[in-house]
């Protein structure tokens, strides 16, 4: 960051202007407000205001049974809702000490990695748009559509997926799903290669992004950054590698890191992560073939809803159905922290349970919220146009920021 003279109020040279960037500005991609003090085009200081779409999820969660909290998690990072859903399911499964069959865990990995790809597609595509290159965004969007069609095949929805249940999935994955995933694995790599060819060695793109918003590893750690942003700064912290969940230890993948933490490095790290995600999906498809193809949930009748035809025709299933829906099932008293590697970083769930029908306290550690707080301090001395690009590459999702 460059040093720039700061004028006092009485200084005749003081010609600072105040700019309200947001809350609804097309360049901010969401509801973000920053009140900036500008000296010409250079930012002298900034104040972020957040909370425009705060929906009190933590309070609502204290009044909902566990399975009704999944749709709330959808609406945090809505660019990769399946990761939030799975993270929540796994938190509850950890509380209940449920062991999942391997096939379910591999299916979850496929869904989560698809979600990560779709999130990175949006982030890197939009970064291109903000530097003036619309083409890449358009090329990549087609493949996000393919991912959304894969979601539709397993849960019927596209954006707020509410996919899976505590203990597994609501239904088995059909052949169309596997066909679409295989087609995606064939179609996407050439598109990504084309995308990289458009940007990675592009003079204009490099000039706009390289050396912009550099972050040292020490600063990134002090600000509790996680995810691609922290890795671009050179710290190889990835929850999937350090605290494997959902059988990530069975997979062979690498954690890409950058060196300078600038916008260009973040772009490269995200591109590389998409390739690693595809590697993992490929491995998962192979490993699933060795498992029993009829298994799609754990055998936990206390927590997993019985099939509908059983509920109508079998007394015991009806009782279980009633008990689960009415929240009459006992849950252990305890507190649990579980985190997953969301598309933006460590997505944590801190759950305190008193044995009642809903959590006593649920706190979401939302990576966007924690990553975004460095935005105003790091914008000091930056050009306004660089600050816009910086915000794109932070990939702050308003839903996750405000919860």
């Amino acid at each position: 960051m460059q040093n720039h003279p700061v004028y006092t109020d009485n200084d005749p040279q003081n010609e600072l202007s105040t700019l309200n960037l947001g809350p609804t500005h097309p360049a901010t991609h969401g509801v973000f407000q920053n009140v900036l003090q500008l000296d010409g085009e250079r930012i002298v200081s900034g104040v972020s205001t957040i909370g425009y779409i705060h929906r009190a999820f933590e309070k609502i969660a204290e009044h909902r049974p566990f399975y009704q909290i999944t749709p709330l998690t959808d609406r945090m990072n809505y660019c990769s809702s399946p990761i939030n859903n799975m993270g929540w399911h796994m938190t509850v499964e950890k509380l209940l000490s449920i062991q999942l069959p391997k096939r379910v865990e591999y299916l979850r990995v496929i869904i989560m990695e698809l979600a990560r790809i779709s999130d990175h597609i949006v982030c890197n595509g939009v970064l291109g748009v903000d530097t003036g290159a619309f083409t890449g965004f358009l090329y990549m969007m087609e493949h996000r559509e393919a991912i959304y069609e894969i979601y539709e095949e397993i849960c019927g929805s596209r954006l707020t997926t509410n996919v899976g249940r505590i203990g597994g999935f609501e239904r088995n994955f059909n052949d169309i799903f596997f066909r679409k995933v295989r087609k995606f694995l064939v179609d996407f790599p050439p598109a990504l290669a084309e995308f990289e060819a458009l940007f990675n060695r592009n003079r204009i793109f490099i000039d706009r992004t390289k050396g912009v918003a550099c972050v040292t590893p020490e600063t990134a750690l002090s600000y509790s950054w996680t995810g691609p942003l922290l890795r671009a700064a050179g710290v190889d912290y990835d929850v999937r590698a350090m605290n494997p969940y959902s059988s990530y230890q069975d997979f062979d993948f690498e954690v890409p890191v950058g060196t300078s933490g600038d916008v260009y490095d973040r772009f490269l790290v995200r591109n590389e992560e998409m390739k690693q995600s595809m590697r993992m999906i490929d491995q998962a498809l192979k490993m699933i073939e060795k498992e029993d193809s009829n298994i799609f949930h754990a055998d936990v009748p206390d927590y997993y809803l019985p099939p509908k035809e059983e509920v109508y025709n079998n007394m015991e299933a009806l009782i279980y159905h009633f008990k689960i829906v009415m929240g009459e099932v006992d849950t252990p008293v305890g507190e649990v922290y579980h985190s997953v590697e969301g598309a933006n970083g460590e997505l944590g769930f801190y759950l305190v349970n008193d044995g009642g029908r809903s959590p006593y306290r649920l706190h979401f550690r939302r990576p966007s919220f924690i990553n975004y707080q460095m935005y105003a301090p790091m914008s000091r001395g930056m050009l306004l146009s660089d600050a816009i690009i910086n915000m794109s590459s932070l990939n702050v999702i308003a839903g996750e920021l405000d919860a």
Partner: protein, 167 residues
Amino acid sequence: MSTITNEEIIGLISAKFGDQIIIEGEPYGLLTIETGRGQIIDLLTFLKTDAALQFIFLTDITAIHYPEREKPIGVIYHLHSLANNVRIRVKVFLADGDVHIPTATVLWDGANWMERETYDFFGVQFDGHPDLRRILNVDDMTVFPMRKEYPLEDPNRVDKKDYFFGR
């Protein structure tokens, strides 16, 4: 996975702080300790800087409200030692009417917004915080909405109560 056991961590902390620390247990493998607000910054500094522990990463700060307890507001820190790959949870309970605790922004820049969020929802006063304002709620809100005395729905509604199920 982790290169240091919880027993070793307890040993190191107990040697330094003795009976100022209460070991709460290890729910789901995550060591949980409790301390008073007088020692919290010393404890966090020790955890962060000790060469064997290196809890350099502040994962989260949040709070919890137990209205029936003598000290109802609990502030909860989650720390992560990236070198040892181990996590620790630190709790400090505060009495009602005196909800003050020193700020952790002296140790981590990232504590700033986490503490603002905790203040916003629970009214915890972080002494020495550079900018303790509301962050997600509107500025002219007068209550701290995550405390248990503020019900989410119509308080007269009884069909969702636990005592219907013998709890």
